[in-house]
Subunit: 211 residues, 2 copies
């Protein structure tokens, strides 16, 4: 009961731009916001605004690696006004921002949501996101799906592509997990694709993978 | 799920005093806060901080008619961190502040709470608060309790005091309501107590009220 007034006031503070003191510049647009709100969520912003950085003097911060829609979603999250729909539409950018600006709650929210709808179509992409951003629960979920549930056999083309272009350490980890489970995934062309850089001693299969 | 991060960040923004830009001076203490949050809740604060008033230049606002504890409760409410216990402890001051600074949500929250625990012991005090701050639902509740449920007969001493010292218009309103219900409350000494100023034509009872 007591919180309702505060929530709607923070929404109004953002939406009506009440006494804003910073402009956030993203790709294709700018958003007016409050330093204190950004700083309360992120040590990176806190540092930016507390020291004699360009951002302090100019009353502007450049987020040149986010779209203005993604950035708007980020700001809405910080003020507690982000809808579930907007969140899902910009989840990848929000995860990127959560990692870059050290917003632990946002990273956690993204990770939980990414775990919720991981499936065979996106498991390799999710695995790479998990590895890149250090999301251990998401990584565990993907590894379980790929290795223990053997979904890796259902996506031979995707997996070949992952084995060729994915992060070397991660590919090696998946392979090692499969090996421990007593089988090899469909990566017959892996050794020839330059996996030597991963220090993997592979004995490639002689015949083509049955896919 | 999405709101959790924002709530705790706003709490931190207040509790850790992150980039505060205003000092609120109350009786016996000061609290550091953010103009934008105060302004988002209240047109009175918005006006104070937006124009060239003393408050804008000095980065301070004096609330010299509130205790520092009451003021702390007010600020906590604005940031959404006020506990039910603190709210109840400072409800009267919060109602006063909600009225003075035009914080409709706070007034409404106070009114609902005051309706919840109105009883024979406090009904006259509540009725006067309702009248003073224009809280029509609370006023209706008190009038119903006093007049329709005839609780007025259970508190003759309190009611005499109210009739002597309470707001004239309000006393007249209660009397008129009782009259419409077909009875007179225990105000035998009312006419002699100077109620003539209320334009009430009373026919005072001849004998003492049986109380």
């Amino acid at each position: 009961m007591l919180q309702t007034g505060a929530q709607s006031a923070f929404a109004q503070m953002l939406n009506d731009g009440i006494l804003t003191d910073i402009v956030v510049n993203a790709i294709g647009g700018s958003i007016r916001a409050h330093r204190a709100v950004l700083a309360a969520h992120s040590a990176v912003f806190r540092c930016m605004f507390s020291h004699d950085l360009r951002e302090k003097e100019q009353s502007a911060v450049d987020i040149s690696d986010m779209s203005s829609d993604g950035c708007q979603a980020l700001i809405s999250y910080l003020y507690g006004t982000l809808s579930e729909e907007e969140f899902l539409a910009h989840r990848s950018e929000l995860l990127f921002a959560g990692d870059k600006y050290g917003i632990a709650g946002l990273k956690e929210t993204c990770e939980k949501s990414l775990i919720d709808d991981v499936d065979t179509d996106n498991v390799l992409e999710r695995l790479q996101m998990a590895h890149l951003y250090g999301l251990s629960a998401l990584k565990r979920t993907c590894m379980t799906m790929l290795v223990e549930f053997k979904r890796v056999h259902r996506i031979p083309e995707d997996f070949r592509e992952f084995a060729r272009t994915g992060d070397g350490d991660l590919v090696a980890e998946v392979m090692e997990s499969c090996r421990r489970q007593g089988y090899l995934p469909p990566w017959y062309d892996l050794a020839s694709a330059g996996r030597v850089r991963n220090q993997l001693v592979l004995v490639p299969k002689k015949e083509d993978d049955p896919a």
